[in-house]
């Protein structure tokens, strides 16, 4: 009866980097090998994606966007993850990973067309190795595993990052995907952004167990880390990705964080959570925390901080302008254009009819 695949410590290059409480150790922080520019860039990116988040919130209030799902508080995960991966490593996001997409080089104005009601996902995922934002919770996790299996079949040296929320871990698809990943030893890093809320449902009502510890049941290691420390995220994802890349299979990282804003602009969190909780997490806000660290290390001064802010403001203004001036695709193309590569005749006729009815009105 002793045929359980035990994941032994030697298989786990992530755990030694962290304290039992999930903090990146000082030693590990010292050996990340990032240049001062790279370290400053992480900060720059976090400021940029937060400012863009705020701008999107404004745009929604102004009626320029139909909906917005803020990721405030989760920037360390967005930025640290992308920095830890190669550009050819695929990322399969859920719907809140706008900041990750920005870090991958997708124009935020282009991505915003989704929230502006102009598209369901305008970019080509293959260009950025960044899959579309996916709304049905957890349904993207098997996609990531399929890609990782494909990487193995093609003897690729890329790995896949699959990210999802705490709520997503309750879904059947999440489980099926985790189990497939274990069986096929797929090169995939699972990254749970445990922001403690699934709309109004707090973590304690989402599960009575531990998300990170579930990995063991699928035959690979898992760890719970501080998700509000950009370097901790970077270190964990990098080590887990390296492990996957060398053929040792999946890894599950549970990054503890907090959804500082509402679930989306349609949500009213005052109905279900208190300000004190939020205040507790304000202290752990990943951006000031990292800024203070950079300052403590003498890696950033007031002038560079000001420069970053200026650059970010310029970028955000440009994004806003690009968004507002973005052309509205023609209806026929928007509705019919991408459904099939080989559209049936009857489908083309329907499109034709639709388009002529538009003209006649």
């Amino acid at each position: 009866m002793a045929d359980v695949v035990r994941v032994v410590a030697a298989d786990d290059p992530v755990r030694p980097l962290f304290s039992p409480a999930g903090e990146l150790t000082a030693d590990a922080r010292g050996t990340l090998g990032l240049s001062p520019d790279e370290l400053r860039d992480l900060y720059h990116k976090m400021v940029w994606i937060r400012r863009t988040d705020q701008e999107a919130l404004n745009l929604q209030r102004q009626g320029e966007l139909g909906l917005w799902g803020p990721y405030q508080g989760q920037e360390a995960i967005h930025v640290g993850t992308v920095a830890a991966l190669r550009p050819t490593d695929w990322i399969f996001p859920s719907y809140r990973e706008f900041g990750m997409g920005m870090c991958r080089g997708i124009d935020p104005a282009e991505m915003l067309t989704l929230f502006r009601g102009l598209s369901h996902g305008p970019w080509d995922p293959r260009r950025y190795h960044f899959a579309p934002l996916v709304i049905p919770v957890a349904s993207q996790v098997p996609h990531a595993v399929g890609m990782a299996m494909g990487s193995r079949f093609k003897h690729g040296d890329d790995v896949v990052l699959s990210t999802f929320g705490d709520g997503a871990t309750s879904k059947g698809d999440w489980h099926e995907a985790m189990n497939f990943a274990g069986v096929f030893r797929a090169p995939v890093v699972f990254l749970c952004q445990n922001n403690r809320w699934a709309i109004s449902v707090p973590l304690a009502k989402q599960t009575a167990g531990s998300i990170a510890e579930r990995a063991q049941g699928y035959g690979f290691p898992g760890i719970r880390i501080d998700g509000n420390d950009v370097l901790a995220v970077l270190a964990a994802v990098r080590a887990a990705a390296a492990r996957a890349r060398q053929g040792d299979g999946p890894y599950l990282i549970e990054a503890m964080t907090y959804r500082m804003g509402p679930h989306t602009t349609s949500d009213d969190p005052t109905r279900y959570r208190s300000e004190t909780d939020l205040e507790r997490w304000n202290v752990k806000d990943p951006i000031p925390r990292y800024r203070e660290w950079l300052q403590g290390q003498g890696l950033i001064d007031e002038a560079s901080l000001a420069a970053i802010n200026r650059e970010v403001e310029t970028a955000v203004e440009a994004t806003r302008n690009r968004l507002k001036s973005a052309p509205v695709p023609a209806a026929g193309e928007a509705i019919f254009g991408r459904v099939y590569q080989h559209p049936p005749d009857s489908f083309l006729e329907e499109r034709q009819e639709f388009e002529s009815s538009l003209e006649s009105n």
């Binding site: 139909g66 049905p136 919770v137 709309i199 449902v201």
Partner: protein, 322 residues
């Protein structure tokens, strides 16, 4: 009684059902503390406690799956699926169990699955689906969709009281329309209503399209065209007598739903009329619905969905036919 919105009417109906029968349970994602993303369950947990009205983990298949065990135990579960597009993960539990469990065991399954459905709310993907045809084709289920606050109240009472499983589709674009309601009025499952009398063409609609059909009827009147609007309310079973009675007068029909036309529930309606009412028909029955594409980005939904113009055009064609 003050005029109430459909959202409020459903809330009242749930409240009365919970108060009237200790075995009624209301649960789903965010229905407890928050009161639902549409506030349909607002205040219910406070009033009835968290053993009767509760939040679940995020897992639609289990939300429906637990209903079977609860029903075996004597409960009357009223789960909520948060949006139309999130009922698909529960499809197996609905088709393989909710619909078939009584046939398998002889034990009734008084389960009412509430689903906000339909579009026209400017939402992102998966929040504007019209999946009713997947359920009307599933034997063992009953499928209803009210279009007014009063019908929503009464039909939900009927659904919860019904010993068989009911899929209760709520036209979310109509949640905030107000009307005076009479909570004593009964609306049995299986009865359509003539929402507006007329003599020229019968327009058959349900849920979100009833309003459009009525608007079309008003517009048509100005051109001296008389449309009779039937609000099906119940899709399965389908009230053919009411439909055929209307056809006796009009000899022409149009079917309107938001779902794509191909393979949609409109096909069933047309096929039945074309069979039972073959000799009555004096023109082809137009089906007006969503395009045969996935639901488009919000900016395009008005063009995608049935509207007054498309109904009027179809009415003109039907009247000119022959």
């Amino acid at each position: 009684m003050e005029p109430v919105t459909m959202a409020k009417a459903i809330n009242l109906s749930l409240r009365d059902a919970l108060a009237g029968d200790d075995d009624v349970l209301v649960f789903g994602e965010d229905v407890g503390t928050l009161g639902g993303v549409f506030r349909i369950t607002d205040g219910l947990q406070k009033a009835f406690g968290s053993d009767r009205v509760f939040d679940t983990p995020l897992a639609e298949s289990a939300i429906i799956g637990i209903c079977i065990g609860l029903a075996l135990r004597g409960f009357k579960p009223v789960p909520e699926i948060q949006f139309d597009g999130f009922i698909y993960p529960a499809f197996d539990q609905i088709v393989s169990h909710v619909a078939k469990y009584r046939n398998r065991t002889g034990v009734s399954m008084p389960i009412t699955i509430r689903v906000p459905f339909g579009g026209r709310i400017g939402a992102v993907e998966h929040h504007s689906e019209s999946p009713e045809a997947y359920f009307t084709h599933t034997a063992g289920l009953k499928v209803v969709a009210p279009s007014t606050p009063g019908d929503a109240y009464a039909l939900l009472q009927s659904a919860i009281a019904d010993p068989d499983p009911v899929i209760f589709f709520e036209p979310k674009a109509r949640y905030y329309l107000k009307e005076e309601i009479d909570t004593a009025k009964e609306v049995p499952i299986g009865q359509a209503r003539v929402a507006r009398g007329g003599s020229g063409v019968t327009v058959i609609a349900y849920g979100p399209t009833v309003g459009i059909a009525l608007d079309a009827a008003k517009a048509a009147e100005k051109e001296n065209i008389s449309l009779e609007v039937i609000d099906l309310r119940s899709l399965s079973p389908l009230d053919m007598p009411t439909i055929l009675a209307s056809l006796q007068k009009t000899h022409r029909a149009i079917v309107v739903h938001e779902a794509p036309v191909f393979g949609g529930f409109g096909g069933e309606i047309v096929a039945r009329i074309a069979d039972d009412g073959f000799d009555l028909l004096e023109a082809p029955i137009a089906r007006i619905g969503g395009m045969d594409t996935p639901y488009p980005p919000a900016r395009y939904e008005k063009l995608y969905l049935p509207d007054v113009d498309r109904i009027l055009e179809a009415a003109d064609l039907a009247l000119a036919y022959g």
